[in-house]
Every structure is written in C-alpha cells, then in structure tokens.
C-alpha cells in the first residue's frame, strides 16, 4: 500500500525518474460562458416574480492529465469559475491493481453516475446547455463528487462492461459509509446501457447547513437528517449522425425536518413563514400552524426522467451543426420555492412539486475546438390550480485548447 501511495505521489508531482520515459502528461482545458434570459414567472403564492437576464462570465479551466505506462494516472481539473477564485473540481490519482480489470482511484472525483455527471465540464461535446434535472445545481439528487473508487472494465469482442464501486465523505452525518454503484454495458463506441445506484447507508446531513442556497447534494438544507437512495437505468446511442439519450431516476428519502430552537426560528419554521414558499402543498406537508412547522417527518420520493435527441449535419467547411430536442420531467413534493431558503423555483413553484420542460436548440461547431449553442425551453407546471408556462432562452460558447 505504501508503495502504491508513493507511486501515486510520484505521478502527481512528476518526480518519478524510474518511469520518466513512459510518463505522458497533457495540459489542456477550455473557456466557456453563457447568457440566459428567463421570462417572468408566477411564484408559489400566485404573484408575478420578475426574472432578470444573466450573463455568466467565462469559466477558465485547466486540466492536467498524466499517465505512467497505464499503471498510474493522475488528473486535475482547476477552474476559475466566473473568472474569479480558482477551485479544484477534480484532483485524483489512480493505480491499476489488475490491468484493465481493477483500478483504484482516490481524491476528489466526479462520481460515475449515468451519462452526464462525468462529462458536464466537457461543454463542447454534448447536446444541450443545461444539465439533466438530476444534476441541476438547484435540485441535485446526490453529490456530484466523491472520494474513492474501485473500478474496472471487461472486454469481450465488440462489447465491454464497466463496473464501478465508490464511496466518500459525501453527505454522511458521522462515520457512515455511503456507497454508489454504476454498471455500464457498451457495444462498440455507439451503444451504452447502464444502471446507477446510490445509498447513504445511514444518516446523512446537508453539506450546506446555512440554508441560504441550494444543497450541494441530495439532502435538503431544511433537514436535520436524511437517509436516502437514488437509482435508475440509462441509455445512449451516439453515432456519426444521431445522438439519442434517455434516463430515469427515482430517489427515496426518509428524512426529518429541522425544527430546532424557538418557535419561528428553525429552518422548517422559516419556510412556513415564507410568503412565496409556503404554498398549500408545503403548508400541508410541514404542518404549518402560523409560523410553526409541526410536522418534522419527511418521507418522500423524487422522480425524474429525460429524453435527448440530436442529429449532426456535416458542413463542407468541416464544421458541424447539430439541432437537438430535449424533454425533461422532475417531481419533488418536498421542494420549496424560495432559493434563499435552499429551494428551487422550478419544482418549488408547482402545486404538486412537478414540472415539465421542453427544449429545442442547436449546436454549431465551426471546428472541433469551438462550440456555440443556442436553445429555448418552455417550462410547464400547475400553480394555484392553473396551468402556467414560462420560457427561457440561453446562449453558450466554449473554446477547447491544448498545448
């Protein structure tokens, strides 16, 4: 083990003279940014809520990917989000324990979970601008990163099976060992069929317990504790022309709302007091009596699914245009509206906690390093017994670079 760790450290710092001739280190990254404008929408109490247009200033990302003889790998993804402070999105080291069959990865890593979680930073490569609802930062169903992973791949003929077992700090309350599994069956490079599972394996708590922004995982900011699992199958076909993706997930939560402190002061009480968040669904669930939330038991299920289809048109100039269409559904009966309380305006506004989103758009790649995307979404949900729609337009640009 010590030897493995020393070897791994050598990869990170590049001090391995023994393997120097086979060390292969790449530096590359991307720059991206986007603009979005959301129509004014109806808030949970039926009043008009004005949404302003938003420019997201460029993110600059630097990736360092190092490999020694297929035995050790190290990967770092540093991002200056919003052209501000630099954050470490990923930093991990990997050691092969039995060729392709078993590898050990440790650090901060995106968890393999379906099609999108690992590739969301690879903006130029996928159709669409927004992440599927499962990984929408306003209502994440689980943490995007974890810390340790055992994985491998079995190849036979044209198919391969990738298997992943992972664990980490995630949202655990104390010494729990949350775990996740991802199985992916690939046929050639075109077809993917997979299944993902995650379990907190005991009590979990919100990562961000200030309740002033959306949770960074699956435990809502207004919970004192939660035990949950998430599971679902996914599918992808990606050929030279067509891309078709579909997935469905369900999360099963057994949670307790935070009702600590004096009446009117707990996180659950603050939601009962919120004029925008406390719609009839929330009042019923939280047992709001005045500004007191009397029901702390929160057992609920989240359902989501999506379908994404795109078609590539090759241009004579060597570029590509890819029109696409997406359909997203998300339902979370526990979600509140007010973002400052950890809520989300999409599911939070709805009478039942559900919404549907249609998106049409196009990707334009003048070459493989530059990508522009433009799309339009229509959100649909019932608010105070009326069907309400609002639109959203987005434009994104990205530039992939490498030394």
């Amino acid at each position: 083990m010590v030897r493995n760790l020393l070897g791994a450290a050598a990869v990170v710092f590049g001090f391995s003279s023994l393997h120097a001739q086979n060390m292969d280190t790449r530096f590359y990254g991307y720059l991206d940014g986007y603009f979005e404008s959301v129509e004014d929408q109806t808030s949970a109490n039926g009043a008009v809520d004005e949404n302003s247009s938003e420019f997201n200033v460029p993110n600059l990302s630097l990736v360092i990917n190092s490999n020694i003889n297929n035995d050790y790998r190290a990967y770092m993804n540093l991002t200056g989000q919003g052209a501000g402070n630099i954050s470490v999105r990923n930093a991990w080291v990997e050691k092969s324990l039995a060729g392709d069959y078993l590898k050990f990865r440790i650090g901060k890593l995106y968890r393999p979970f379906g099609i999108y979680n690992e590739i969301l930073d690879a903006v130029p490569t996928y159709i669409g601008i927004e992440a599927p609802e499962l990984f929408d930062t306003d209502h994440l169903m689980l943490t995007r990163t974890t810390n340790l992973m055992l994985w491998g791949q079995k190849n036979l003929g044209v198919w391969s099976l990738r298997y992943v077992l992972k664990t980490g700090n995630d949202e655990r309350e104390s010494s729990q060992v949350p775990y996740g599994i991802d199985l992916q069956y690939n046929i050639g490079s075109n077809w993917k069929f997979g299944f993902s599972y995650y379990d907190t394996n005991g009590k979990a708590k919100p990562i961000n317990d200030k309740a002033d922004s959306p949770s960074e995982g699956g435990v809502h900011a207004w919970m004192s504790e939660d035990e949950y699992n998430v599971m679902g199958p996914y599918f992808q076909y990606k050929g030279s022309k067509w891309t078709v993706q579909a997935a469905t997930y369900q999360a099963d939560h057994n949670a307790t709302r935070d009702d600590s402190g004096n009446v009117g002061e707990s996180k659950a009480d603050l939601i009962c007091q919120s004029t925008t968040s406390a719609n009839q669904r929330i009042k019923d669930r939280f047992g709001c009596v005045g500004n007191d939330a009397q029901n702390t038991n929160a057992d609920y299920k989240i359902d989501t699914y999506y379908l994404r289809v795109g078609y590539n048109f090759d241009l004579e100039s060597g570029g590509q245009i890819t029109p696409y269409a997406q359909y997203d559904y998300y339902k979370n009966p526990e979600m509140v509206y007010d973002k400052s309380l950890g809520g989300d305006k999409e599911a939070g506004v709805s009478d039942d906690g559900d919404f549907v989103k249609w998106t049409v758009g196009t990707v334009y790649r003048p070459n493989y390093t530059v990508t522009f995307k433009l799309d339009y979404s229509q959100h649909m949900q019932d608010v105070v017994n009326e069907s309400k729609d609002y639109g959203e337009i987005r434009f994104s640009y990205s530039y992939f670079w490498k030394f």
Binding site: Q21, N22, D24, R26, Y28, Y30, V63, N65, S66, N67, N69, N70, R73, Y75, N77, N90, W92, G99, D100, L109, Y110, E118, I119, D121, A122, P124, T125, Y126, Q153, N155, G157, V158, S160, N186, G188, S189, G239, S240, N312, D314, Q320, Y368, F400
Partner: protein, 137 residues
C-alpha cells in the same frame, strides 16, 4: 454486371484504404498480430492490454492521410466523431488520449524505444528498422 462492378469498386477501395497505413510496435514487443476490434478498443482507451501485452496508443495528427484512413477504416469512425469522442474522454478524465507524435519519423523513433506503445504510420513495403508491422486480423 453492374453489381459486380460495384462490388469490385468497394473491394478495391477498401484495399486501397487498408494499404495506406501501417500499425507498428517496437521490435521487442511481445505481439505480432492484433484483431481489428482489440485495435479499436486500444485507440478508444477501452483496453490497455492485448494478450498480456500492455499497449498504449500513439497517433499522428489527423492532417496525415494515414491517420485519416486509420480512423475511417480501422476505427470505423468519422474524423469529427473520433475527435469529439476523445475530447469528451479528455475533459472528463475518463481516459488518456493517444499520445501525439508530430511526424512519421518521430513516431518510429518513439515506438522503437517504447515497447508498450503502438502507433500508426503511412504504409511502406516493409517496416522501418527497430519496429515491426502488426498484422491486423
């Protein structure tokens, strides 16, 4: 007759493509042949060991005809598809892309001294000194 002509055209066009690149490894590498599917999986980062021999892919720029033909015929992919595939893998850390070499001579010299690498160069009557051509089954 028309069918025979079409069949012959397809057959010879395949032959012409296949003959425009050569898959090479170091002379000391313990491998002499590779099946097409293993070769594809090595170049997609899905496999790093073939018959007990560790193989890491290396590639020339796509401006080379040999690379273009290898991607089209050997990988069964378009150039854009191959580049997008690797961009996704690179940016997500899922795999390390084929090591780039600038010229065929660089590739030959690199493969000569790195027995765990596999490369693709323009075809020739025989393999250059220090490397051997793999028979692609």
């Amino acid at each position: 007759m028309k069918f025979i002509l079409i069949a012959l055209t397809v057959l010879f066009s395949q032959f012409a493509l296949a003959s425009e690149y050569m898959v090479i490894v170091s002379e000391s590498a313990g491998i002499n042949e590779i099946n097409k599917n293993d070769l594809k999986q090595v170049y997609l980062g899905q496999k790093s060991n073939v018959g007990g021999v560790s193989l890491t892919p290396s590639i020339l720029p796509t401006a080379f005809k040999a690379t273009q033909n290898f991607i089209k015929e050997g990988m069964g992919m378009s150039r854009a598809e191959f580049e997008k595939y690797w961009m996704e893998k690179e940016m997500s850390g899922q795999a390390t892309p084929p090591k780039r070499q600038t010229t065929p001579n660089d590739m030959i010299n690199f493969i000569k001294s790195n027995p765990s690498f596999i490369g693709v160069i323009p075809s020739a009557d025989k393999a250059p000194a220090g490397v051997k051509a793999l028979k692609v089954l």
